[in-house]
Amino acid sequence: MDFLVGAFKPPCNVSISFVDTKTRKQVPLKKDNGQTIMVPLFQSQENIIGEVLIEPTQGKKFEHNGVKIELLGQIELYFDRGNFYDFTSLVRELDVPGELFERKTYQFEFSTVEMPHESYNGINVRLRYILKVTIGRNYISNIVECQDFVVRNFTPPPSINNSIKMEVGIEDCLHIEFEYGKSKYHLKDVIIGKIYFLLVRIKIKNMELEIRRRESTGSGPNTYVETETLAKFELMDGAPVRGESIPVRLFLSPYELTPTYRNINNKFSVKYYLNLVFVDEEDRRCLGAGS
C-alpha cells in the first residue's frame, strides 16, 4: 500500500517564504474556497526577497527540467474563468534541469518590482499577485506551488479636492441640498457633510447614507456592471421640516473599501458612490452622489 500511496503523492514539498516574514505586515486574504488566510503586504517598487525550499518526499530522488519562480500580476474575469491575463510577469530561473536528492533551498530576489495595480477581489473580477514556483518535469505534469501576496499602493493626496455641493429633488416632494467636504476620500477618511432640506412634502421615516461599489468589467458591448452596497449608515431618524440641516459624519475605516480603480488594463473599473436613501412610510427613493 505504501507503494501505491507514494505513487500518487507529489515527489516533493515546495514552500515559499519571504525573508522579512516576521516584520512585514500581514493582511487577510480571502481564498477561492472561502477561507481567509494571512498573507504579506507589499507595495510597488519594493524588493521581494525570499527563498524556496524544495524537499523531496521520503528521501527519493527525482528528475526535473529545471526550477523557476515567477512573480505574476494577474487579472481574472469570472465570466472568463481560468483565463488569466498577466499584466506583470517576472521570471527567475532557480535551477537548471537535473536531479534532486535532498532538500534544497533557493534564494530569489525580485528587486524594485513594478506593481502598478492593487490587489482586488470583486464580484466579477479578481486582481492578484502570486509567486509561482514551477518544477518542470518530463511526461508528467509540472509541480507548481503558488504563494499569494497583496499589493497596496499609496498615492499622494490629490492636490485638488473640491467639496461636492448639489441641489437635488423630486418635484414638489423633496428638495435637498447636500454638501460633502471632499470629493475624494482616502480609505480611513471621515465623510463629513451636511444635508439641508429645502422642501419636505413626504413623510420620511429615516435617511441613510449608503456606500456602493460599482464594478464594471470587460469593455465595449461585453461590459458587465455589478453594484454592491457595502455600508448602510443611518443619518437621520424621523421626518425633518423645511430648513433643517442634518450633519453627516461617516468613518470609512470599518468598511472594506479599496481605492477607486479606473480602467485597469482595459479590463475593469471600480468606483464608489455615496448614496442617500430616503425611506418613507411606503417605498424607497434614492438620490445619489459619487466619489
Partner: protein, 791 residues
C-alpha cells in the same frame, strides 16, 4: 373599543421593549465583566435600539428611557476606566460612531462624550458643540426630545461655567450658554412638531401627551438659570432675546404659554425687573390663543412679591418705570389680541392693580389709571354677561378697598363708579355689599357730604330700584340682609361738625327717599336716629345756636325728619312711623320746642287713628304713646290736656277688655309725674285706676258668662300694684282703705269656688302681699303709712 385596545397594545409594546433592554443589558453586563469592548458596544447598541420604537406614548416611552438610562450609567463607568478596555478616549469617541443606527450611535456618543469631557483631553466646549450638532440627526419628536434630554442630563455638571473645572482658558461661559440654548431651541422645535404627529390621533390626546413632555424642554431654562456665569448683562443681551426669539417663532400656543411661564419662574426677579421691556415686548407677538393673562399675572405676582421682600428694591421699580411698562404692555396685548374674551382683559387689569397696590401703595393715580383703562375697554359694550368677567370686575373693585381699608380713598377714584356702571344690577349689588362690608369692617367714617354722594352713587344698586330689576326675583332674605347693611352703613356717615353732618344727613336722606316702599322701613330709622344724635349734640352746645343763618338748628333738622317719617307713612309702615314720631317728639321735648313736639304727637295720633288698625298694634302703639307722653315736660297745660285726653280716650277704646284695663291704668301715670315740678293730679289718677277696676270687673264677668268660671285675677293684682305705687308716692286720693278693699276683693275672688288656681296670678298676688308685709315691718315713715292696711 379602539382606545382600550390601543392601551393594551401599548402595555404590550412597553413590556416587549423592557424585555429587550433587559435581555441585551444582561449580555452587556457579561461583556462589561469580561472587559470585552467589542461585545459591550454591540450589546449596548442593541439595547439602545429598543428606544427606536414609535409605538409608545411619551409616558410609556419615558419608562423605557429610564431603563436604558440606568444601564448607560454602568456603561459610562466602564468607558471611564481605560484600563478595562484599553482604548483611548479619543479613539473610543470615534469607535462608537461606527454604529449603523443613529439613535444608539448618538446615545453612545453622548455617553462617551461625557467621559471625554471629564478626561479633559479636549475642551468641554468642543465636545459639547459636537454632541449638540450631531443630535440634529434625530428628527423624530419623541425620540429626539429624549435623546437631547439625555444630553442635557449628562452635560449638566460639565458645562464650562465660571468656577467649573471644565472652564477653558477664556470666556467659555458663552459656550456653556450657547450649548444649552441650542439644545433648548432644538428641543422646543421637536416639541412643537409633536403637534403634527399622527393625523389619526385626537387633538386632545396629543395635547395631553405634549404637556407630559414639557418639563423636558423647560429643564433647559432651569439649567440656564443655574449657570453662574449668566449675569444680568448676559441675560439681557443674549439669553433672554434668544429664548424669546424661539418662543415667538415657534408659533405654538402651548409652548409659548409654558415657556413664558418658565422664564418667569426660573430666572431671578431682579432680572425680570431689568428686562421688563424685552420680556413684555414679546407678549403681543404671541399667538392669540395663549393665555397671556396668566403669564402676566404670574410676572406681576412675582414682581410684587419681590417688591414686598425688601424696601431696597423699590427705587429700582421706580427707576425702570415698572408700572408704566406693565401698563402699556397690557394695553398692547389687549389691543393685539382682539379675540381675547373680556374676562381676560379684566383679569389682566386685576393683576396690574394688585401689582400697583403692592408696589406703589402711595400712587392712587395709578389705581385710577388702571380703572380708567378698564373703563375704556368696557365702554361701548353691553353690560357684562359673563359671570367670570363679573367676578373679575368685583375683584378689581374690591382690591383697592382691601388694600387701603379705607373707602374714602376709593371715593376719590374718579373711574371707580364708571367701572361699576358696566356691571349688571345683580353684580352691582354684590359690589355694593362688598363696599359696605369694607366700611363696616374697617369702621371707616364717611365724613363729607360729597363723599356720601359718591358713596350712594356706588351703592345705588342697593339704595333704589334700578331699571330692569325684576322685583319678583329678589330673595327676601338677601334683600333684608342688604338693607340691614345699608342701615348699618348710615351709621358710618359721621362728622363732628354739625354743619357738615347736616349736609351729610341731607345727602343721605335725598338718596334714601328714592328707595321705594320696600327699602324705607330699613333705611329711614337709622337716618332718623343719626339725625336725632346730631340734635342731641346741638342741644349740648345750645349757646352757639343763636345765629339765624346757621342751618344746623334742631328746628331745621326736625323739619327734615318730619318729611322723612312722612315718607314712611305712605309706604305704609305706620307702626314704625309712629315710633319714630315719638322718638322725635321726645327729642323735641328735650330741645324745648313745644310746637314741634306737639306736631310730632299730632302726627303720631293721626297715624294711630288712620293707619293702625290691628288691635295688637294698637295696644303696642298706645303704650308707646302713653310712655312717651308721660316723659314730656315741654307742653303747656292746654296742649298736655289735649294729648292726655286723647291718650286715655284711645286707651278705653281698645278692643279687648284686659288691653283696655292695662292701657287705662297706664294712663294714670300721665297725671302723676314723679318729678319735682311734675304734674301731680291725684284725683285724675284715682279716676283712671277706678276706671281700670271697672273694666277689670267687666272683664271678669264676661269670662264668667262665656266660660262659666272666673278668669284669673291678674288684672286686679296689677291694679293693686298701681295703687300701692301711688300710695307710696303720696297721692292723697289713694287711701289705705281703698287698698284694703282691693286686697279683700282679690282674696274673695281667688277663694271663690268658681276660680281655678292660676299659676301666674296666684304667686303674683302672694308676692304683692309679701311686699306689703315687708313694708309694714321695715319701720320708718313708710311702715306707719302701711300700718293701716291689714293683710
Amino acid at each position: 373599543m379602539m382606545i382600550p385596545d390601543g392601551i393594551e397594545d401599548e402595555e404590550k409594546w412597553l413590556a416587549e421593549g423592557i424585555a429587550g433592554i433587559q435581555h441585551n443589558a444582561f449580555y452587556m453586563h457579561r461583556a462589561l465583566d469580561a472587559n470585552n469592548l467589542r461585545e459591550v458596544l454591540k450589546y449596548s447598541a442593541q439595547m439602545l435600539s429598543e428606544l427606536r420604537t414609535s409605538k409608545l406614548s411619551p409616558h410609556k416611552y419615558y419608562e423605557l428611557y429610564m431603563r436604558a438610562f440606568d444601564e448607560l450609567r454602568k456603561l459610562e463607568m466602564f468607558f471611564k476606566d481605560e484600563s478595562r478596555h484599553g482604548v483611548s478616549i479619543v479613539d473610543l469617541y470615534e469607535l462608537v460612531q461606527h454604529a449603523g443606527n443613529i439613535l444608539p450611535r448618538l446615545y453612545l456618543l453622548c455617553t462617551v462624550g461625557s467621559v471625554y469631557i471629564k478626561s479633559k483631553e479636549a475642551p468641554a466646549k468642543d465636545v459639547l458643540k459636537d454632541l449638540v450638532e450631531m443630535c440634529l440627526g434625530v428628527q423624530h419628536p419623541i425620540r429626539g426630545l429624549f435623546l437631547r434630554c439625555y444630553l442635557a442630563q449628562i452635560s449638566r455638571d460639565k458645562l464650562p461655567d465660571i468656577g467649573s473645572e471644565y472652564k477653558g482658558d477664556s470666556d467659555t461661559v458663552v459656550d456653556a450658554v450657547d450649548f444649552v440654548l441650542q439644545n433648548f431651541i432644538e428641543m422646543n422645535k421637536l416639541w412643537v412638531r409633536l403637534k403634527h404627529q399622527g393625523p389619526g390621533r385626537s387633538r386632545e390626546k396629543l395635547e395631553k401627551e405634549r404637556s407630559e413632555l414639557r418639563d423636558l424642554v423647560g429643564k433647559n431654562l432651569h439649567v440656564l438659570s443655574q449657570i453662574e456665569g449668566v449675569d444680568l448683562e448676559m441675560y439681557k443681551d443674549t439669553v433672554l432675546p434668544r429664548i424669546l426669539e424661539q418662543i415667538v417663532n415657534c408659533k405654538d400656543d402651548l409652548s409659548q404659554y409654558y415657556l413664558m411661564d418658565c422664564i418667569i419662574q426660573v430666572f431671578p426677579d431682579e432680572y425680570h425687573l431689568q428686562t421688563l421691556e424685552t420680556l413684555l415686548g414679546a407678549c403681543p407677538l404671541l399667538q392669540p390663543t395663549v393665555d397671556i393673562k396668566t403669564v402676566l399675572s404670574q410676572l406681576m405676582d412675582r414682581l410684587s412679591n419681590y417688591a414686598a421682600s425688601s424696601t431696597d428694591v423699590l427705587p429700582e421699580f421706580l427707576r425702570v418705570e415698572a408700572f408704566a411698562k406693565l401698563s402699556s404692555a397690557i394695553g398692547r396685548v389687549i389691543e393685539a389680541q382682539v379675540e381675547m374674551p373680556i374676562v381676560g382683559a379684566i383679569t389682566l387689569y386685576v393683576s396690574l392693580l394688585t401689582f400697583t397696590l403692592r408696589v406703589h401703595p402711595d400712587r392712587l393715580d395709578y389705581v385710577d389709571q388702571v380703572l380708567g383703562a378698564c373703563v375704556k375697554k368696557l365702554s361701548g359694550k353691553p353690560k357684562l354677561e359673563d359671570s367670570k368677567a363679573k367676578k373679575q370686575v368685583v375683584a378689581l373693585l374690591s382690591a383697592p378697598l382691601e388694600k387701603y381699608k379705607d373707602i374714602v380713598m376709593a371715593l376719590t377714584l374718579s373711574n371707580y363708579p364708571r367701572v361699576m356702571d358696566h356691571l349688571d344690577n345683580e353684580t352691582n349689588k354684590v359690589m355694593a355689599m362688598v363696599i359696605i362690608q369694607s366700611i363696616l369692617k374697617n369702621t371707616s367714617c364717611i365724613s363729607t357730604a360729597d363723599q356720601v354722594e359718591v358713596l350712594f352713587e356706588l351703592i345705588k344698586g342697593l339704595v333704589k330700584d334700578l331699571d330692569g330689576t325684576d322685583v319678583e326675583e329678589l330673595d327676601e332674605e338677601d334683600f333684608k340682609e342688604e338693607q340691614n347693611s345699608v342701615a348699618r352703613l348710615i351709621h358710618m356717615l359721621y362728622n363732628d361738625d354739625p354743619e357738615e353732618m347736616l349736609k351729610i344727613i341731607c345727602a343721605a336722606k335725598k338718596n334714601i327717599m328714592n328707595g321705594g316702599p320696600k327699602r324705607l322701613p330699613f333705611t329711614v330709622p337709622p337716618l332718623i336716629l343719626s339725625a336725632l344724635g346730631l340734635i342731641r349734640r346741638l342741644q349740648g352746645r345750645e349757646g352757639d345756636l343763636t345765629g339765624e343763618e346757621v342751618p344746623a338748628t334742631p328746628k331745621n333738622i326736625f323739619q327734615i325728619l318730619n318729611q322723612a317719617i312722612e315718607a314712611l307713612t305712605t309706604v305704609p309702615s305706620p307702626e314704625l312711623a309712629l315710633r319714630l314720631y315719638l322718638e322725635c317728639a321726645e327729642a323735641a321735648n328735650d330741645c324745648d320746642l313745644e310746637p314741634v313736639a306737639y306736631e310730632f304727637f299730632t302726627q303720631a295720633f293721626v297715624l294711630y287713628e288712620e293707619e293702625i288698625t290691628d288691635s295688637k298694634s294698637q295696644v303696642t302703639a298706645i303704650h308707646l304713646i302713653i310712655g312717651t307722653l308721660q316723659r314730656m315736660n315741654v307742653f303747656g297745660v292746654e296742649n298736655r290736656d289735649t294729648l292726655t285726653h286723647k291718650a286715655t280716650g284711645y286707651s278705653a277704646k281698645l278692643l279687648k277688655k284686659p288691653d283696655q284695663c292695662r292701657a287705662v291704668y297706664a294712663c294714670s301715670h300721665l297725671f302723676w309725674v314723679d318729678d319735682l315740678d311734675g304734674i301731680k293730679d291725684g284725683e285724675r289718677v284715682l279716676l283712671c285706676l277706678k276706671r281700670a277696676l271697672r273694666i277689670a270687673n267687666a272683664a271678669q264677668q264676661m269670662i264668667n258668662i262665656t266660660r262659666g268660671s272666673s278668669g284669673p285675677v291678674t288684672l286686679f293684682v296689677e291694679i293693686l300694684n298701681k295703687y300701692l305705687y301711688f300710695f307710696e308716692k303720696g297721692n292723697p286720693q289713694v287711701t289705705s282703705a281703698a287698698i284694703q278693699a282691693l286686697i279683700e276683693l282679690i282674696t274673695t275672688e281667688t277663694k271663690s269656688d268658681s276660680t281655678a288656681p292660676d299659676a301666674v296670678s296666684d304667686p303674683f298676688f302672694a308676692s304683692t302681699l309679701r311686699y306689703i308685709q315687708f313694708q309694714k315691718q321695715k319701720g320708718g315713715a313708710m311702715s306707719e303709712k302701711y300700718d293701716s292696711i291689714k293683710v
